[in-house]
């Protein structure tokens, strides 16, 4: 097989991996702070894609330029979901309520989109659409490349925010010890709302970027929901860096894998590797416990 094709696939994988990493990170952040598994993260990506689509159709806003606005809208949307619905179900008993709630929210959002936009695929144009960069004989799609850069930038900004701002420190404190957070006067409910909002905003940034080279349809969230769970489980739930690297592993696996085994077996390969990773991780864990 031609090495050039493999390298090309690798580069493509890294770029799509950026999107997976981002969605995985958003899921992980919500889990890390609130200890809830958010089953509608994929649908949140879908909502943000439709928002990008609407901004483009009615305001003529380029998807890349729309990113700040989409992030803001998604923050508000997420914060609202959290404070109106999810927060109320947490206080009851255990995880089940949140699990059902977020799962149903996902179905609800998908079907609302179906009702509003029908099941047709929708696309938008960006200034970089259909442009290709040639580097060392590789063809790099410009919208994917710009998306990748923007996602890296967003990730760095989020880390700086968590590390240095007051809100970021409060988020970290709450995730590490909720009781400790309460006795130091952190309003944990407010932090939960902010975190969910930030999680939705991160997913929104990914969604807007995705819109520049991909199409949206009501059940598109399934693709990214499942992918983000794989990413997070590979990297370790609650471990933000793990999710980040998991995203790239998944992206590379998909593209390189599909050039080797053929596109039809792409998903099979992904899940086989995923299961292998889980088995290996579990064995390592058992060994560590024994050792």
């Amino acid at each position: 097989m031609d090495v050039g094709i493999l390298v090309q696939a690798l580069v493509n994988g890294i770029m799509i991996g950026g999107i997976y990493a981002m969605v995985g990170m958003s899921l992980n952040m919500i889990f890390g702070v609130m200890k809830i598994t958010n089953f509608c993260q994929g649908e949140i990506v879908m909502v943000s894609m439709y928002i990008t689509y609407l901004l483009y159709t009615y305001l003529g806003l380029d998807p890349f330029l729309a990113i700040p606005l989409v992030a803001l809208i998604m923050f508000a949307f997420g914060a609202m979901l959290q404070s109106l619905l999810i927060n109320r179900s947490i206080k009851e008993d255990g995880d089940q309520n949140v699990l059902f709630l977020t799962c149903c929210l996902g179905i609800f959002l998908t079907n609302t989109a179906l009702l509003l936009f029908s099941s047709n695929y929708r696309t938008v144009e960006s200034i970089f659409s259909n442009q290709v960069m040639k580097v060392f004989g590789m063809n790099i799609s410009l919208p994917r490349f710009v998306s990748f850069l923007l996602l890296c930038l967003a990730t760095v900004l989020i880390f700086l925010m968590l590390k240095h701002t007051k809100l970021g420190k409060q988020i970290r404190a709450t995730s590490q010890n909720p009781t400790g957070a309460q006795v130091t006067g952190i309003k944990t409910k407010f932090i939960y709302t902010c975190t969910y909002g930030i999680g939705a905003a991160i997913a929104g940034i990914a969604g807007a970027c995705l819109m520049s080279f991909y199409y949206v349809y009501p059940s598109v969230g399934n693709v990214y929901g499942t992918r983000s769970f794989i990413v997070v489980t590979m990297g370790g739930l609650g471990n933000v860096w793990g999710a980040f690297s998991g995203g790239f592993v998944l992206g590379i696996l998909e593209t390189v894998g599909s050039t080797i085994v053929g596109a039809a077996f792409k998903d099979t390969l992904v899940f086989v590797v995923f299961i292998l990773i889980l088995v290996i991780k579990e064995n390592l864990n058992i060994k560590r416990k024994r050792g």
């Binding site: 420190k169 404190a173 590490q176 010890n177 009781t179 400790g180 957070a181 006795v183 130091t184 006067g185």
Partner: protein, 239 residues
Amino acid sequence: MGNAFFKASGLNVKYGDIQVLWDVSFEAEKGEIIALVGSNGAGKSTSVKTVAGLIRHTSGTILFDEKEIPGGNARAAIDAGIILVPEGRQLFPQMTVYENLEMGACSKTAESRKKETLEKVFDWFPKLKERKNQMAGTLSGGEQQMVAFSRGMMGLPRMLIMDEPSLGLAPNIVDDIFRIARQVAEETGLTILLVEQDVRKALRLANRGYVLENGVVNITGTAEELSNNEEVKKAYLGF
């Protein structure tokens, strides 16, 4: 009869259907050190958690400096000046000592005077200054308790509640912390509410004490009275 600086009266608390506090009352004057003692499960921790707003009481009132503290609102208690150093320390393990202390200064006044307070804290515990960039989770138990106490002090409390500070720690470290607590109480008029299983130690530090048993205040008196009380001696001091 005038109201004390701090007064909790007739606190009733339930966990679900199970009542754990029955009409518990205790009070403290400004600058006083009060000990709540009793065996495991007597309701000491629940009492102070209620005062600190972590648990909501079903009836009773908490008065602090002539203002009523609402139940179940930790931030309101903190803003009034009641700060809890919780049982088990509850630090942020993956944050540095410095960041942990920083988190303690949450009210506006506390935040604006962060630097001064921090200097004081490092004066009390030079070890914390050495380790300020170390993750709190990597400290020894004693050092963690120093951080927990200091984090509480960073919030500029008017009443500090210490819940089981000696649990699982070497005696000399506990003595250090108690010595500093007493010094601060004498110098600044800080009121201290101490919850302890180690009755002997608690009565050595405190001015007065309350003995709780099964969610009810059984015996109260000055530290000296309690130390000489036959019942207390038999049950807690091992005479």
